[in-house]
Symmetry: C2
Subunit: 338 residues, 2 copies
């Protein structure tokens, strides 16, 4: 029996499009705001400040060890809200689908998104579905945008890191990118690493509940470009220097091994379930201990600190005692994956 596939008509605005929305999208994501099926969602808010972000997900392969494009599309946007201290609340979701895409694959993705929304405590309240001619896009792209509320008194931003701050990473680096590459390039013999894709708002919530929000100065999730890129961005925005200790950076043996074989540097590998935090050194141990008790923070480490000079630069004390500059890459180590 031929499997059911997406047709151009499913994006036409006619009854087939309506059926796709009703029987797939709304069926899985249903909530009172989305169910109204207007061209926009209306939601109440009591915050005086909101955070707003967007990301398009074009990952290939769309299913990979530890996750899929749907889980990524929820967690990535949730994490971009969480890193300013916001509580992620409402998401939009726009599917761009190639004609011929399997309904069974769409359903897997929708279920995975539903699960991720549940864990992160967010609702998809508005959306859009486009179908394009075969060959005009590779399988499926997903855009999500998100809105979150921000409590008073928080001011976490890439330009707020201070000299003396500690730099913390919430766990092992590089799992996501190695998982993607091993699937794409068929490197199952090299590694069985799973993507770390996960919502990070639980960690942020735990810190806010302990009253530690004002001690967090800059926070970012090290996705494309990895830890090295995030540190360089914050060093430039805050006009400070950063020094990290190679020995303290958590990288799994399997990821180290894969990097050696493939010629990659784990500092530049993409992650989808990690936070880099610049924070008040006086509260560093307390923050670390709170994070270590959360679901995704058990391997957190303080990896370095902020120095006055050289401004805008990132240095690393290497395992053998030297110090080297950790630059941003001009291009990339390998085809972009996230």
């Amino acid at each position: 029996m031929e499997e059911k596939r997406i047709l151009l008509s499913h994006g036409s605005g006619g009854t087939m499009a309506r059926d796709l929305i009703d029987q797939y999208v709304v069926k899985h994501f249903e909530n009172p705001i989305l169910n109204l099926l207007n061209d926009q969602a209306v939601f109440p808010t009591s915050s005086s400040r909101l955070a707003f972000t967007t990301d398009s997900y074009v990952v290939d392969p769309i299913f990979f060890p530890g996750g899929d494009i749907g889980k990524l599309a929820i967690c990535g946007t949730v994490n971009d809200l969480a890193v300013c201290g916001a509580t992620p609340q409402y998401l939009s979701c726009s599917f761009m689908i190639e004609e011929g895409f399997l309904f069974s694959d769409l359903e897997k993705i929708l279920l995975s998104m539903k699960e991720a929304c549940k864990e992160a405590g967010v609702k998809i309240v508005t959306g859009d579905t486009k179908v394009v001619n075969r060959g005009s896009l590779d399988k499926i792209f997903i855009n999500t945008a998100g809105v979150g509320s921000l409590e008073e008194g928080l001011s976490i931003s890439g330009n707020k890191a201070l000299v003396g701050d500690k730099v913390l990473i919430t766990g092992f680096l590089g799992d996501h990118e190695i998982a993607i590459i091993s699937k794409r390039e068929n490197l199952g013999f090299v590694t069985h690493v799973q993507s770390d894709v996960a919502p990070m708002n639980g960690i942020v919530k735990a810190l806010l509940q302990k009253g530690l929000g004002s001690r967090l100065h800059a926070m970012r999730d090290p996705t494309r470009g990895g830890l090295a890129t995030v540190l360089n961005e914050i060093a430039a925005q805050s006009q400070i220097g950063v020094i990290i200790e190679e020995d303290k950076i958590p990288v799994r043996e399997e990821v180290k091994g894969a990097c050696e074989i493939l010629g990659f540097d784990p500092l530049y590998l993409a992650n989808e379930g990690k936070l880099v935090i610049f924070l008040d050194s006086q509260k560093a141990e307390e923050v670390l201990s709170v994070i270590k008790k959360t679901r995704y923070g058990s391997d957190a480490q303080i990896i370095g600190e902020v120095i006055a000079e050289p401004k805008g630069k990132v240095l690393m004390r290497t395992g053998i005692g030297g110090t080297r500059i950790v630059d941003m890459l001009a291009t990339e180590q390998f085809p972009r994956i996230c």
Copy 2:
């Protein structure tokens, strides 16, 4: 001299990606919130209700008579906010670009978006840029999401049309889709119609300023699927019937001519600068006269009214005196374009 093109490295998160963002995107869209270059925007709000919407733009061709994908990406999202009576404020913008895309084309699109933002009075405050392998997408897709504030007392929604309401359209139908098709299929000999792509929030603002907001019951912009689809959607959501007069539906002679040649029905053609409004019949003439004075409303017409039966159906009194059912299309008249 070889023209400058987008490379995969421009999407890598490295310095080339940063240059693309700084020298192109932020250069054109710059504002204090976007300039912070965090992974999210933070904005203040004093509204107790917000509207939120998203749309991905995959139009082919990307440049067409009367506009381009960039103008469409701003106006489309502005319009989806305006149709619930919201004041569009902040937009996100995510570019998905094929490796090899010309920088000169990107710049044209950015300028056109800047212009449209200015006219609509909205700011792009957060964004994302992905570059994918050649062949993984056709040229460029753009997603925009938008947030707008909603004043108290408004309740404009697809399920709020009432028996006795008048149905109004703000101008000529079908210009956008005929412009796209004529460019794509090289039908310059058939028509010189320009797309109607335009921000509709000016019309909505004029009505709100006259205190007419509470007289608007349901409002939608007739994009994919056209007027017929919007009327059917609202008839179904509000559980009412709609009857329209064929003679009153504004369609340009040139669009009629193109439809005859191509075998299309103007009722199903996509528009990108029109509103369909269901409103209190007592204020219909006043609303019409306010709309006629706005930049995009001079050809507005009252085209029909809401009836109690048959529920969920749309009828049309034809020019020769008969009455026929105007159904939703199951599929589409031709390849989808907007």
